[in-house]
Symmetry: C2
Subunit: 407 residues, 2 copies
């Protein structure tokens, strides 16, 4: 299941980027599962990585290579089907060897190759297949393969996820195109499962890193499927400069337009993850208004978004708002005056001053809950801060998918 439609609009080519996908047999049969992305010399790349203490081997190595190369990476080597996580020193060695083999074949320094893996945790990486796949991909690099790349990194995803923007800045056409994957084990903490966004603008590494950091905070760090932060989350933002336009982070109209477009791409990609959440039949926006600070708004929003009882009520299109109220009450907001709290489902006010609204009817609540896209809006009425997170429902299909993932 999934919500919304999967059409992503045109995917603009980005100058300075080539890619290839290969069916290397990492885990799946009859589909591409190794993706190689090449960045032209002179490109800069920034990244944010999972904060899960059990970082996967490729996360540790990608972080190390990013630092050693000072953002001058040339190749992103991605495999699906095996996370190379919980594999200890041997897993790290496998990741190193795959990068070294590709670096030799491509004639670049090993730290210019960044490795990424996604899939089952705790199984040994089929190293030779990955190396063979990477080498084969190197000879097939082509300019525009975004759709194939988006498909090649999928695991339990039911659809590829890609977003693209083209804008004209000072008369130069600049493209921003990104892909990502993820449908379960989604509660990113500084990044989501795997996301790659590339632009042909030229941007310095420090500016790129800040832009990514800010953008992720309002996109991948505002979504949850099941509260489970992955061991392999990574989000990368690269700038090739191939458009000929160099930008820098300042107060200019140009930078602000560009930064807003990058942020929109990140946000749309993050939302596409939730729309394809495992077993999802609802796309849910949880907006918390009237908080004293960001932390308490997020506390309330995530407690609602991750409550199994709220999620199953959403599955059933049941306006069981008592579960939302109970979630707010246990979110740990200190000295919360419940007699001020209001809850809206879409435009329907269900709770006012901490109790069922006089105007509320079950029929009105039901009408909102029948919809595929649902807005849950909570007003704490104790401050000026608002925050929004996006989530999905909890269906029998979610349980089926996750009870049979490895079989």
């Amino acid at each position: 299941m999934a919500t919304g439609n999967s059409a992503s609009g045109p995917l603009w080519g980005v100058g300075g980027v080539r890619m290839a996908t290969v069916a290397a047999g990492i885990r799946y049969r009859g589909r591409d599962d190794v993706v190689l992305i090449e960045l032209a010399p002179g490109s800069r790349i920034a990244g944010v990585f999972t904060r899960n203490a059990f970082c996967a081997a490729p996360v540790l190595l990608a972080r190390e290579h990013l630092q050693r190369s000072e953002g001058h990476a040339r190749y992103l080597l991605i495999n699906a089907g095996n996370a190379n996580a919980g594999t200890g020193e041997a897993g790290l060695q496998d990741a190193r060897e795959s990068c070294a083999a590709l670096a030799r074949a491509a004639g670049v320094a090993v730290e210019q190759v960044l490795p990424f893996s996604t899939g089952v945790i705790g199984e040994k990486l089929p190293l030779q297949r990955l190396i063979d796949g990477a080498t084969a991909a190197l000879s097939q690099l082509a300019a525009d393969n975004w759709d194939a790349a988006a498909r090649g990194i999928m695991t339990t995803d039911t659809r590829p996820k890609a977003v693209s923007r083209q804008l004209s800045l000072s008369g130069t056409s600049v493209s921003i195109t990104g892909i990502c994957k993820g449908a379960g084990m989604i509660r990113p903490d500084m990044a989501t499962m795997l996301a790659y966004v590339v632009t042909d603008a030229g941007v310095a590494q420090a500016d790129l890193q800040q832009l990514l950091h800010d953008g992720v905070a309002q996109s991948f760090n505002r979504i949850t499927v099941d509260g489970d932060t992955s061991t392999n989350d990574c989000c990368m933002l690269a700038a090739t400069g191939a458009s000929g336009l160099a930008l820098q982070a300042d107060d200019s109209e140009e930078w602000r337009t560009f930064a807003a477009a990058v942020q929109a791409v990140l946000r749309e990609l993050a939302i596409s993850v939730i729309r394809d959440a495992e077993g999802a039949c609802k796309f849910v926006t949880v907006q918390v208004d009237g908080g004293r600070d960001v932390a308490e708004c997020l506390q309330v929003a995530y407690t609602i978004a991750e409550s199994p009882l709220v999620k199953t009520a959403l599955t059933a299109s049941d306006p069981n708002w008592g579960r939302i109220l109970a979630a707010i009450g246990r979110a740990g907001v200190s000295a919360l005056d419940v007699s001020k709290v209001s809850i809206h489902l879409g435009d329907v006010c269900i709770v006012e001053d901490g109790m069922v609204a006089g105007s509320y009817t079950e029929a009105a609540g039901q009408a909102v809950m029948q919809q595929e896209d649902i807005l849950v809006r909570v007003d704490l009425r104790r401050g000026q801060v608002s925050e929004t997170v996006w989530t999905s429902d909890l269906s029998e299909e979610y349980v089926r998918i996750n009870a049979s993932y490895r079989s």
Copy 2:
């Protein structure tokens, strides 16, 4: 579904306690849904209540009456099917009136009646039916009706939950008998849904309160089904003194034997909630050893116990330990050295030094996971503290139950 067997052994009568159950039509047809428990004059009672900010009206009132009567309550009036939560001032008024009506009929002060409700949140209490039921129950009080009382407070429970102990102290026979209900919206915070334990020993209120507080910390506050703390959680411990033996909290062998028996009753009741958890086909003990303090052990234990991915793997009897490892990694333990962490499933070591154990085979893991009772044991190897929580799995049945609860 439920795990283990439902036989609870003999339920010992407790001197000084009478009870009655009535089919008052609060929500259900053809079953008892109002339970009245009478404590003999001179009894003392202690209570712990939910910390959910949205306390139900009866919780607010029971707390107030407990304080005003200084623990000299005479009647516990309980209804199932309607939680009287999220009902604002009107709900509080309903609770007050039900207590007042019973107090008048019984000839006691209003603060000697403690009200309790469990069921759907946010619907108006059918006040007249509750009053009629309470009054009818008053004329039917009988000494030993524990099984009927345990059935009368059920909502989504599939079986009654009752535990009883009899012990001989200084030649006097003392009984401790308790009942509770709860199967979903279970992550008690100082108490579970509803639990009532009564002894015929005589105990002062302050000692009773401390005993209950300590006992709940290691029983109802160590269980979770879905992480959702209820608005109605209450756990009450009463001492009638009818056995003729008065006890006080001191270092005596007598007190320690008695306190241990009370704690055992609380723990068994808490475990019975998890065994009857909504949709449960597994009973899971999560034990975290080697922590620096209680807080971090509980952080890790609850993160595992409430991870939808761990829970669905349990449902599937799939030894997908990568999900346990990912949960440990995101639990927020500061400066966790993952290379020291080990994980056992039952007696099988699956992760050693942060990676898959050399001796581990999938067949061995599978054999443990096939069992109904499963022990997940994590060693953080950074301190001396251990903590245990009990939980259930997440099955399609759980989703079905909670997607159709109000229909």
